[in-house]
Every structure is written in C-alpha cells, then in structure tokens.
C-alpha cells in the first residue's frame, strides 16, 4: 500500500483578466506549484461565460493548487479582496496525494 498524505486542494475559476494577480498571490504565500486550465466555460451569476475570441474579457481560467492547510487558508483569505468586481469561484476540498515533498 502506497503512503498517502492529506492536503488541501483549491480550485479557483477566475476571469483571465485577473488570473495574473491570483497566480502572483499564490506564489507569494508559498505554494510550491499550481496547475492552470487556460480556457473553461460555463454559466454563473454573470451569465454564460465563453467566447474566447477577440479578447480575454469573457474568458475564464481554472487554477488548481494543492498545498498544506496553512497555506491553503492564506490563499482563501487573500483571494477574497482580489476577486472583488471580478468573476470568480473558490472551492476548497480535502485530498490525498502521493509524494508529500511535491506540495
């Protein structure tokens, strides 16, 4: 049986215009890495978001961070002010990973 380690996973759906600020914050609070899905679409309280053409104004990105609980809390806290006036969803879940040292 492989040893599993408990971590927090944070999924942030954010409009492309704000993604840079979110990523800078994630790096600043000490997360060791993140994964980006550059183009996601769906429906939320700002209506349908898709239309990647022309400009990034209606494009959403998904940023996934897996990290220790303390850092996860800081990301959640600091994402609040950054998302004011922007489309954004922040979801935190418990996950288990192999290779503890990667996160």
């Amino acid at each position: 049986m492989v040893q599993l380690y408990r971590k927090k996973r944070i999924d942030i759906v954010v409009e492309a215009a704000r993604a840079r600020a979110i990523i800078e914050m994630i790096e600043a609070v000490g997360a060791k890495g993140y994964t980006i899905v550059p183009d996601v679409s769906g429906r939320g309280n700002r209506g349908v978001r898709d239309e990647a053409h022309l400009s990034d104004v209606f494009r959403n990105m998904l940023i996934i961070v897996i990290t220790a609980e303390a850092i996860a809390n800081r990301i959640v806290e600091q994402s609040q002010p950054l998302l004011e006036n922007y489309a954004g969803i922040v979801v935190v879940s418990d996950v288990e990973v192999i290779r503890d040292e990667h996160f």
Partner: protein, 331 residues
C-alpha cells in the same frame, strides 16, 4: 458622384458586407459554423500587416509634408477628447453610473481596426485613393481614449475607497495597450513599408494587395458570427444605451469629417478619418478596462461596441460618411 442610395446599396451588396450578414445570421441562429480561432487570429494579423504596409509605402512615395504632423496631432486630439463628449452624453441621456459611462466613453474615443480596414475596402472597391498616413492616425488613436476614460472615472470618484478607484496605467495595462500584437504588427509593417517603399511593394504586392479584399470578406464572416452570438445580450444593455451606440458614431463621424476637411485631406482621407472618429474599440479597450476599471460591466460595453456600433458603421456608417465627405468636398 454617386448618390447616397447608390453608395448604400453598392456597399450592402459587396461580398464583404454579405459575408458579414451571413455570419450574423448563422451566429444568431446558433449554427455550429465557426472559423477556428487560430485561423481567425491569422486573418486579423494578415489584415494588420497588409494595411500597415500599404500605408507605409504610400507615405514613402508621397513624402512627409507638414500636413502629416498636423494629421497625427489631430488623431491624438480626437482620441483624447471624444470620450469627454461621449461621457457627457451617457451621463445625461442614459442611466449608466460613473464607471460604466467612463468605460463606454473610452471605447468610443478609441477605434475599431476592422471598421477602418472595411472602409479602405469600400474605397478600394471604388478606386478612391487616400493618404497613407491615415494608417498612422489609426495607430495613434487606439490608446489616448483609455487614459481619458480612466481620468473621467477617477475624477468622479476622487476620495473613494482604493478598491473602487481605477488603478491607473499600470505596467500590465501599458503592455496590454502598447504591445498588443495588433498594434506592434500594424506599426511595424507601416515602418517596413515606409523604409522599403515601392521596391518593397513589388515584393509584397502578391500577398498584401491581390488577396486583401477576399481575406477581409472571410474575416468579416467571422466577425459576423461573433456579433450574431452577442445579439442575444441586448437585454443587459437597455434601449437608451443602444441608441447611444448609434448616435455617438454619427456625431463622432461628423466631427472627424469636419476636422479632416479643415486640415485639407482628400475625399478618401476624409472618409477614413470620419470612420476612425465614428468607430469604437472592442478588443484593446475592453481588455484595458477589465484590468483598470473592473467595476464597469463588460456585458454592457462589449455588446454595445461590437454588436451595435460595429455593424452600424459597417453597413450604414461607411457609405454615409463617404457621401457626406463627397458633399463637403464638392462644396
């Protein structure tokens, strides 16, 4: 001299406008017709390259006269000042709040490159020449309006909490605006055309002259698809604002036309400056506003400039401004 009606019908029945209409219909009916994003990006890059290069060659063969400097200053002045007028009209004629009115106003001081390119297609269709440096005016008019729009938003809310104040021209916005791919390619091609002149044109002509109108028609099909899908967003915009999307280009076009006449541009040049002053940005300015003025709602300013003003200028505006230019030139 064509009558306005002949011009309008001629414009309406050009392949460019018909392909645009096809795109609008297909987009509105939610057809799965789509031009792959990479191809449409490629087409728009081609159009920037071709229009920039032709403008540069034109400038090289006609030389730099005093008029050029005057025209460039005029371009900056139009882009800086048109948002002030737009903002005043929006605040009195619509219910838009300060950030939304300021954001919309910025769009109307800036320009739509595709509308400009379509207008050169319209002139080319009729073999009407224009001054090459009008392309440089196009490049200069893209950004000053953003500064004015942000100033309008900031002036109206000087003591607000920091979060609701527009972050001014940050490095991020500056890069977005001055180094956006379109601006770099347009300016770069203009410089290359200017440096290489007629010899350069001999090399580039097979690529930048002959296929130009056909590529433009295909690109307008893609624009039509985008507009058609956005037509469903009207409800969010509201009728007084929709009306603004139609009367503002008429007012801006008239101002551009008179200014171009005053500095002595040709018939073709007057038409193009009127189009520049009438058109509204829907690529560079939305991206800048989203970063700098996030309280403004993109579901208002994008459909307004893309789905109302752009088709209006393409179908009605261009022949109208040209007819007005003919009338003024013939006085």
């Amino acid at each position: 001299m064509d009558t306005l009606l002949q011009l309008a019908i001629g414009n309406l029945l050009s392949p460019m406008v018909l392909f645009f209409a096809l795109g609008v219909a297909a987009g509105w009916l939610r057809s799965d017709l789509a031009i792959p994003e990479a191809i449409s990006k490629g087409l728009s890059l081609y159009l920037m390259l071709a229009i920039g290069f032709k403008g540069g060659v034109e400038l090289a063969s006609n030389g730099v006269a005093g008029t050029v400097a005057v025209a460039l200053v005029l371009a900056l002045a139009l882009s800086f000042s048109l948002p002030v007028l737009a903002y005043a009209l929006l605040r009195t004629g619509t219910r838009l709040d300060v950030p939304n009115a300021a954001a919309v106003a910025a769009h109307y001081g800036s320009v739509s490159i595709v509308t400009f390119v379509a207008a050169t297609g319209f002139l080319g269709y009729r073999a009407i020449p224009y001054e090459g440096y009008v392309v440089a005016m196009l490049a200069l008019m893209e950004t000053p309006a953003i500064v004015t729009g942000l100033l309008l938003a900031r002036r109206a809310n000087p003591a607000g909490p920091t979060a609701s104040r527009p972050t001014f021209l940050t490095k991020e916005v500056a890069r977005e605006v001055f180094l956006s791919g379109g601006v770099v390619l347009l300016g770069g091609s203009f410089a290359i055309g200017w440096i290489t002149g007629d010899k350069g044109m001999a090399v580039m002509a097979p690529a930048v002259v002959a296929p130009f109108k056909a590529v433009l028609a295909v690109f307008l099909l893609d624009m039509g698809l985008l507009v058609g899908r956005r037509l469903h967003d009207f409800r969010a915009v509201g009728w007084p604002v929709v009306a603004f999307g139609i009367y503002m280009p008429l007012i801006g076009g008239m101002i551009g036309l008179l200014a171009a006449y005053a500095i002595g541009l040709s018939l073709g040049g007057m038409t193009l400056v009127a189009v520049l002053a009438a058109s509204a940005s829907y690529i560079v300015v939305p991206a800048a506003m989203r970063v700098s003025l996030p309280q403004a709602n993109p579901a208002i300013y994008v459909p307004l400039s893309l789905a109302i003003t752009f088709p209006f200028n393409l179908i009605v505006g261009i022949p109208l401004y040209h007819a007005a230019a003919q009338w003024i030139a013939g006085m």
